[in-house]
Symmetry: C2
Subunit: 338 residues, 2 copies
Amino acid sequence: MKLRFVRLLPAMLLLWLAAAVAWAQTDPLPSWNDGPAKQAILNFVHVTTDQANPNYVPPEDRFATFDQDGTTWVEHPMYTQMVFAFERVVELAPQHPEWKTTEPFKSVIAGDQAAMAKFTDHDLITIFVATHTGMPVEAFRAIAKAWLAQAKDPRWQRPYTELVYQPMLEVMRYLRANGYRTYIVTGGGQDFVRVYATPVYGIEREQVIGSAVATEFTYNQQGQGILTRPPKLLLDNNFSGKPEDIHLFIGRHPKAAFGNSTGDQQMLEYTQAGGGASLEMLVLHDDAKREYAYGPAQGLPATKVGTFTQALYDEAKARGWTVISMKNDWKHIFAFEQ
Amino acid sequence: MKLRFVRLLPAMLLLWLAAAVAWAQTDPLPSWNDGPAKQAILNFVHVTTDQANPNYVPPEDRFATFDQDGTTWVEHPMYTQMVFAFERVVELAPQHPEWKTTEPFKSVIAGDQAAMAKFTDHDLITIFVATHTGMPVEAFRAIAKAWLAQAKDPRWQRPYTELVYQPMLEVMRYLRANGYRTYIVTGGGQDFVRVYATPVYGIEREQVIGSAVATEFTYNQQGQGILTRPPKLLLDNNFSGKPEDIHLFIGRHPKAAFGNSTGDQQMLEYTQAGGGASLEMLVLHDDAKREYAYGPAQGLPATKVGTFTQALYDEAKARGWTVISMKNDWKHIFAFEQ
């Protein structure tokens, strides 16, 4: 008997190993530490996909919306698209000699950080129009794509598209595996985000909702129909614009929504107002070491569009939303750290 | 030997029957007569889904867009949504005693067909605003749904939602079975069409692009986020608006587009401008007996928004688009005829 047991030991070890591997494979959120945030996600998926559960959500209603800047990738100290706009000004400067003596271009070309930090909304719109409009949609796409291929974040010295939060990618994949359609719903430019949404998030262009210029249909010299980008804003996809555009694109309340600032507040409120089980999450940037710390009680400057105010934090608590602590809830932040 | 053959006969007949059934099942377009239109559809799907074909289209690019009125369902003598608006005026009249003496409401309430036929764009907008705006999006949905459930087309005495063209439903199903995402791209109201798009077309709300009012996020008395419909047009999804909104919602050129009027011209042009194999089809209403005859050379009055002009017919021929003759190409028009 004893001998037989010893002989079986290697086989038993193998079985145990296989079981451990299987368990690891079934954890859909390996970059999350155990805790209330991870549990909220697992519980939400469980109750909304179990047909016997009173909170079951039929597949046609399964939508999850994600803000981008500060929610799915780094937004500090400056939105990536803003960096793109500023660098584009420098690149275009030789074709616009007058910019050297005209604000806001002058400060951008001179790299005057102090002046740039004080830019008004009007200054930023001027820069946005000069760098984002006046070309066919395909030309803008090519410009943005070329910039993204070579631009690097100064702190990590990596492409901006690598500064996505691995835990959020896991949530997206987990939701999709459970029949949810995942949408980016960003204050950033729709056509900018569409350039990299598929390789970075696994999200196709038709599931990217963002701020958008009104395109204009016209004809090229060959008589073919083309679309250009006139300097006219059609959708300002921030604050109330988020639920409004979600209705325009989706026509339903999302069942899950993820944000990190007052720019996402109305999206989360609208998600919850849909009734039944829903998931509302806010990313709190409280990890100065691995990323940045700003927002409630951090005393750091707010980002340009919306920020995580104390009032939003209080609303989250009052409405039962989940606040994600990057420091405590995320085992890894970036894929390249692992 | 002879006896054996006779004994086998029933089995052979059964086999032959099975083969015939199998053949019928493999015809994806049974309501289409053989001819260039049916062949164009079959050929398009064949070349764009065969990986060995130079015109192969990867799945992420497979989009097909369908105009609605006159393309997927009857638009003559009046758009269904216009009938809804007029009947809604009559229904709301008791709450608006001033309408009895105020145009354009007065003529609608009186059922004055001659006056209604002469309504200006301004009159129609006044009626649209009075019947389609000023309520939460859910309330509008409920109103439209209730109307559609009881309204009947005067000629066929059937719900409007049964007046869809069976051949077009077959094309939609065939394209979807081959990896195409099918979108309604209508000049009609997006939220009106969304009410019935799923049961009628098998198309979910997020794949309905239409003319749209700008919704407004606000709070109800319980502090929940809701969306209302202010009287402000955000998208006029006709003519150039179609390719512009296709870019907004999809971000790609469609590979196939179906229309029936100048309101669809730019959508078809934009589809073809995407390059590679594409399919552009226009429905010609030339069947006065089974449906209606109007458009080129029919000498019938144009519909309000866009019509099938001789110039559009000539452009179709010049650009190699396919004109569908309802009379010759469609074996059945409606499901209820079969």
